[in-house]
């Protein structure tokens, strides 16, 4: 690894730790109230969803229209586990999250094997159908609470344990979001990620270059579903009540919009757009009736002037940002000297 890369990673790490420390402190002191805390949690959950969908749609180039379906599978799996396992929630919650990811991944295998062996956009239609079927199944099954919703999902830390549940939940969502970004970023930079990108660029040429396209398509799709499942598990324990209506087609589209807006094939773009598009509807609350209108208009404007999304396929680096700030200072300094 080159020295400049090491510095870049170090700066990013410091930034992440600082961000966590500050927000966790503010939450524990109550400066960030439950409303804002909820928005921050949703930002992290949406980051996980957006970055993972970007792997399937931005890097692999397969349109997935049922990401909320995988999320709902994860949400119900995790919730049912913490409700029924009988373990203390501090223990059962991490297990539940892992299970949520694994069950979602299992579903992605079942629908991915027939759909991904073919070339073309079959996956879009199949995942769309999957999302709807899951929603209807949740409504019909006896143990999911049906349309009334699944209630009684425990908070991540019981009140008598003395642990601040808000801080703990924030820690979970924050670090899992960071972990998701890290894993998908380094996956993309590995030989496996290159193979995935090759499939997006030209599937026939990828196959002719010795890439087992079916394997890599499945791999990326399963990884994406796994993280969507984890996001679902986090969501279930954040809201406490699961309503199947939340996981409808619109939510899948909402996540896809975040991916497209940030840039198909840009992880940092996904992080930024997930953050902005989670805050935006809340910030627009004062316009009440018009907020979805404003939201749509903003999207249209971005797409008109920047069709490849905010960042396209580029990545944003904190190190470069810092450098740029210092460089401009230095440069202006130089200019002044020359003038003198």
């Amino acid at each position: 690894m080159s020295k400049s890369k090491k510095i870049s990673y170090a700066i990013t790490l410091v930034f992440v730790v600082l961000l966590y420390a500050v927000v966790a402190l503010l939450i524990s002191q109550g400066t960030i109230n439950r409303y804002y805390g909820g928005i921050i949690t949703m930002i992290c959950i949406n980051v996980i969803l957006t970055v993972s969908l970007n792997l399937a749609s931005g890097f692999l180039g397969q349109l997935v229209l049922g990401h909320a379906g995988f999320m709902s599978v994860g949400a119900y799996t995790a919730a049912l586990f913490t409700i029924h396992s009988g373990l203390p929630v501090l223990v059962s919650f991490p297990i539940a999250l892992l299970l949520a990811g694994l069950v979602a991944a299992l579903f992605s295998v079942i629908i991915g094997i027939p759909a991904l062996r073919l070339r073309g956009d079959y996956l879009a239609i199949i995942t769309m159908g999957f999302g709807e079927i899951i929603r209807v199944l949740i409504l019909a099954l006896p143990f999911t609470g049906g349309a009334r919703g699944l209630i009684g999902i425990p908070a991540v830390a019981p009140r008598k344990s003395g642990i601040n549940a808000n801080v703990l939940l924030f820690s979970y969502v924050f670090f899992l979001a960071v972990l998701t970004v890290y894993i998908i970023y380094s996956f993309i930079k590995s030989r496996h990620g290159r193979a995935v990108i090759a499939i997006r660029e030209d599937e026939i040429a990828a196959e002719a270059s010795g890439i087992n396209t079916t394997y890599y398509k499945l791999l990326a799709f399963i990884l994406a579903a796994f993280f969507a499942g984890i996001a679902g598990g986090l969501y279930a324990h954040h809201v406490g009540v699961l309503n199947p209506a939340k996981f409808d087609f619109n939510y899948s589209i909402e996540i896809l919009v975040m991916v497209v807006l940030g840039g198909m094939g840009s992880i940092t773009g996904s992080v930024i757009s997930a953050t902005v598009l989670t805050i935006l509807p809340e910030a627009l609350r004062q316009f009440s009736d018009y907020r979805m209108l404003v939201y749509s208009i903003i999207l249209i404007i971005v797409m008109l002037f920047k069709p490849s999304g905010l960042l396209g396929q580029r990545e944003l680096s904190i190190k470069k940002l810092v450098q740029r700030i210092f460089d401009t200072e230095k440069n202006t300094g130089k200019v002044k000297k020359e003038e003198g």
Binding site: R191, D202, A206, A208
Partner: protein, 253 residues
């Protein structure tokens, strides 16, 4: 020794017999030309060799082993690499990554190793990076290693496609109209490059080309296809004077 051999190779699409009794063999390090009028079935031969179509008759033997029924990527891994008539690069990624992708099947590290940057990842990535640069140097593309493939001029894109095919360590290289759209200087340069890679990589080359100066200039053996059948075979001199070939190209009795 023959490295690739086809016997009685044929395919029909419905009632149309596109290829019939195609029979040829390529020796190690040999350069063979496949020519014929438009629609003769030249690219179809390539597509059969690489499992884009599955032959309805015959066998294809690579190093004495029948490869009919193997998947495209397996055939590539076993030693047949190809380029395409209309260049198919991975356009939105860097030149060097185009080459590294073709080396994927020679790398071994696992998904976990890739994500958590285990020593196997570092070692293999370093090695592949070195090999990719060496390969690009052969084609004078090393200065452009970090440019996007789409930003290369046309002639260099053709070269990159050949470099990518070579990166899979092939025994046989299939080139589909490598000189298409090149000016005479570029064509001359390409002939030099093909001879160079044959010598350097000990690879047999089977190429389709319409530029007769190119084919006659470089190929040791030429196979002529017309209406899906081989009508002539031989060296440049024999082909040039073969009445059947002249008739196929210019019309005749």
């Amino acid at each position: 020794m023959s490295v690739l051999e086809t016997r009685n190779l044929g395919i029909s699409f419905g009632g149309l017999q596109a290829l019939q009794d195609v029979h040829f063999s390529i020796n190690e390090g040999e350069i063979i030309g496949l020519i014929g009028p438009n629609g003769a079935g030249k690219t179809t031969v390539f597509n059969l060799l690489t499992d884009v179509y599955i032959p309805t008759d015959g066998v294809i033997e690579l190093d004495g082993e029948n490869i009919v029924g193997q998947k495209t990527y397996q055939i590539t891994q076993n030693g047949i690499a190809r380029t395409f008539q209309n260049i198919r690069l991975f356009k939105d990624i860097s030149v060097i990554d185009n080459v590294k992708i073709a080396m994927n099947s020679q790398m071994k590290y696992s998904v976990l190793s890739g994500i958590f940057r285990f020593p196997a990842y570092r070692r293999e990535e370093k090695e592949v990076s070195k090999r990719a640069h060496e390969l690009l140097q052969v084609f004078h593309l090393d200065e452009n290693a970090h440019d996007l493939a789409r930003n290369l001029p046309y002639g260099q894109q053709r070269k990159l496609e050949i470099a990518r095919a070579l990166a899979t360590n092939p025994k046989v290289l299939l080139l589909d109209e490598p000189a298409a759209g090149m000016n005479p200087t570029e064509t001359m340069e390409l002939m030099e490059t093909i001879r160079l890679i044959r010598d350097k990589f000990q690879v047999a080359v089977l190429l389709i080309e319409h530029d007769m100066n190119f084919v006659m200039g470089i190929c040791e053996h030429i196979v002529v296809l017309d209406y899906g059948k081989i009508i002539a075979e031989g060296n440049a001199e024999e082909i040039r004077n073969n009445p059947k070939v002249i008739a196929a190209y210019l019309g005749g009795e």
